[in-house]
Subunit: 291 residues, 4 copies
């Protein structure tokens, strides 16, 4: 129950990251890994991202002079080989996000490491850059995944145990959160796979601004996460423009890439907010338990 | 990551289509193709469309001098034989939409072609007009369906890979999108089949206007899709009136039928924005994959 | 595609009904007809209706001088024997609503008739009044139910094929609609049985006012349906007060009980808007069908 | 159908309780009692509560000089042994909430009593205080649970049969309600376990203020329930601040702990609003029933 007391560089009251998970149709391949259906609707909806959405978002970021961090599954970089070089050329950071957007729940430890190695090799081949950080698809993590991220000396941006940077077994964790994820509200594919209709953007924008107002007051980190094929739609470009207009009007906010935030954390507070990455024991055998 | 650069006729900044999928109770027959239950609720809710809703929407379009494109399943034209002639007489376009609103996921290739042929014959018998375009029920498409649309020399309005016209293996695609579909937000039938309660109309209207604002800025295509039995309800007529009042105030918007948009595309940009309609290979055998 | 042209008494532009389905915990008994769980949460939430909610709503109706129609399952009248006499004494209409809120989907024809007979006998025993109308639980109807309503010379208020009165095989139908039903938006019981969280009341109120505005313009019928344990909650009393304040400011609206509306229909337009109550044939054997 | 006539101390028009269910990751252990998955996402999201959320909420309550009642599962007090002493030191009440957030639906009578005894012992060991009240996880109750609460001479805060205090077989019941529970609207964990996306906070805040306005008018009890890991997020702190600013501006509201409300009830109206805690008989054998 510590007070909020994360510290930032001089003159900074709070920090903000613009992150984009450039999934395109990679989750479609993962979901249908048992066999691809001869159906085009989901594929085309998702390919709208690289074709149209990413360009719109890059232009928007340019207008606000914001450098973002783009997490790109290996498959997407392979299918659209201009993406990683373009992102680098326009000054943004690139990070890892699985190869086929593999979900931790259904993935073996070996499968994870195998995909990670292939992704890094592809990033290096396409850009000459070794990525500094990892974000897990759907933000699920296992102890094995954390150990692998640690082995590679990377930061992670997947867990949500604080709303400012913290440290998980030596790994710097730059936390996202569901409330600031466009997919939660706006992802809609049809065909019976959806949780709910798309939310109306106006009240969600107000909620994002409330979240920012609170985080700014608490001196914490506003980490927004959007997706190419979701926030590249016209309605959401309009929404993001309103959001960035409001937040960039506040001068004591530090807009930074995830690596910049991680470097600050490691230089100043790596030993504060340290947590144990192991899964706690279950109730079996606990004296208060009688099944 | 191309910039938005679709071109329109001189003086036009963006385009807009009003489309209506006149399903009535045809999906009910498809859903219950294994046997019709002795229940009246869903049937009556859907028959509200031809009885009341379509007339209200036609009157609304007349007030704004908009010509729409109405996609009508064969079964609906058969059950309500005055519909197609009335639509033609009032200056609107008619398009194909299956015979019983068959969903691609559960339909054989042969079943699709069989229904398509019967629909065309019925349209010609009732109006003397051979329809120029097709929209798939629930916006799902297979390579076979695309090949059939190509064979018949028609355009398609089902896939969502851009938000302006594009070309799929020679077929002109005029894309809809879920965000501008009334059913996503307002379809509600009761009896345990619904995804969510109906959305409140005010915030959704604001979202549609945001979508239009963005598409207009990007010089793209605003394609609205409504349904007879959903948007024929009084609340939604009020909503559509507000929407059309706002958009028609902007004079550089080209309101057109889908065929007019398709003809423009074919005359000017058929070879831009061309995509391959085949389904990509799955992960099996990919070097980054270890199942 | 007829124009809206339902006619009302002189000076009346549209009509409005306030209806309440006084379910209390009768659906709980129906749902658990195979055995009652030893759990109290749902029971207590539902009993809030007769204990608190109904009194608040009656006071509200008195303030606006509105006479409503209250549909009461037999079980509820039996458990709370003061309800029917109180409703009659305060000038409201009482109607039938099953005995245990039986759902048509799972009920035999014999079971329906049996429950109906018991309900009528109970209503007559408690009030000396034979109810004039019926509303089916969850608004599902079968041809058998309609035949029974016809045999008893009653009107029905269950089907939604128009938004003004119509006639189904000789039975006068006064249509409700889901969009004007509080349960769709606000019903929430916990324990894993819910479709969605409760909606926020403000945007739904705006939507109800939009629906009224449209129905008033079209000269149709605004039929609101609320529930004792849902709209008896303080938040919704506040909402209903705002709704009624707005609508009662319009003097050309005829607030009437369902029986008053039905009598008007039978006296003036029983032979317009007549529909066939049989279920259409399925697709089997249709020439356009190939399964 | 009694009028609202609950009585409060002189000068008080209505009462208000701020309650917090400090679940942290205790429900995660309950849900996975058959075996803990090697996954970190849900654990970390929930541990945000004790790490960050509770401190923010305590600071907020201090600013408004409100004393709350915090319901703490035994496991949470065990894992974070500073929580109960801190709450007591800062003047708040502590109450029971199961040991592992056990849900009544899946718990044996013996298991419930066993967990209750262990919780009380732990509370006494950590604070020297024997808690006066109980709230069931997910607000489900069985007759056995009520009998146990009665045996221990405690009040309960789980059932929702009124919106002011009442009496269940001698146990004082201080009712919560779903509409005033943050989890219903904002709980979101990812991984396929969610009912819906998080609601936008603005319209929900308006609904909570409507609920308060109505309850204040009816002279009833506004009982808010929040959770450490949900309402500790920045967006919701901003929301709670707006809520408390509005309600505390009204001077005739009595802000009290649940025990203070219960003591008032027992001293003045223990024999009004008395209900029977037994589950009613099912339909089997009822004369109106024919299965």
């Amino acid at each position: 129950m510590a007070h909020d007391e994360y510290t930032w560089p001089a003159g900074v009251q709070s920090a903000a990251c613009f992150t984009l998970d450039l999934d395109a149709h990679s989750p479609h391949l993962w979901i249908h890994r048992g066999g691809m259906p001869q159906l085009l609707s989901h594929l085309e909806q998702r390919r709208f991202g690289p074709r149209v959405g990413v360009g719109r978002i890059l232009d928007l970021l340019d207008r606000f002079a914001i450098k973002g961090t783009f997490f790109v599954p290996g498959f997407v970089a392979e299918e659209f080989p201009e993406i990683l070089p373009t992102l680098v050329e326009r000054g943004h950071e690139i990070g890892l996000h699985g190869y086929f957007h593999e979900l931790a729940n259904d993935l073996s430890d070996e499968g994870f490491t195998h995909a990670l190695d292939h992704s890094i090799a592809l990033f290096e081949a396409q850009t000459g850059i070794r990525p500094k950080g990892f974000r897990s698809p759907a933000w699920e993590m296992t102890p094995h995944m954390l150990a692998e991220v640690k082995r590679l000396g990377m930061w992670d941006s997947s867990l949500m145990g604080y709303d400012h940077p913290y440290t998980v077994d030596g790994v710097t964790e730059i936390p996202p959160q569901w409330t600031l994820d466009d997919a939660v509200y706006f992802k809609f594919l049809g065909g019976g796979v959806d949780l709910a209709p798309p939310s109306a953007p106006g009240p969600i924008l107000d909620g994002w601004l409330d979240e920012w107002e609170g985080l700014h007051r608490f001196g914490s980190l506003f980490m927004l996460t959007v997706h190419d094929w979701i926030s590249g739609r016209a309605q959401r470009i309009v929404m993001l423009e309103k959001l960035l207009t409001r937040i960039t009007a506040e001068k004591s906010v530090w807009w930074a890439t995830v690596s910049e935030i991680a470097a600050h954390h490691e230089a100043t507070q790596k030993d504060r907010y340290v947590i144990d990455p192991s899964v706690p024991q279950g109730v079996e055998g606990h004296p208060a338990w009688r099944g």
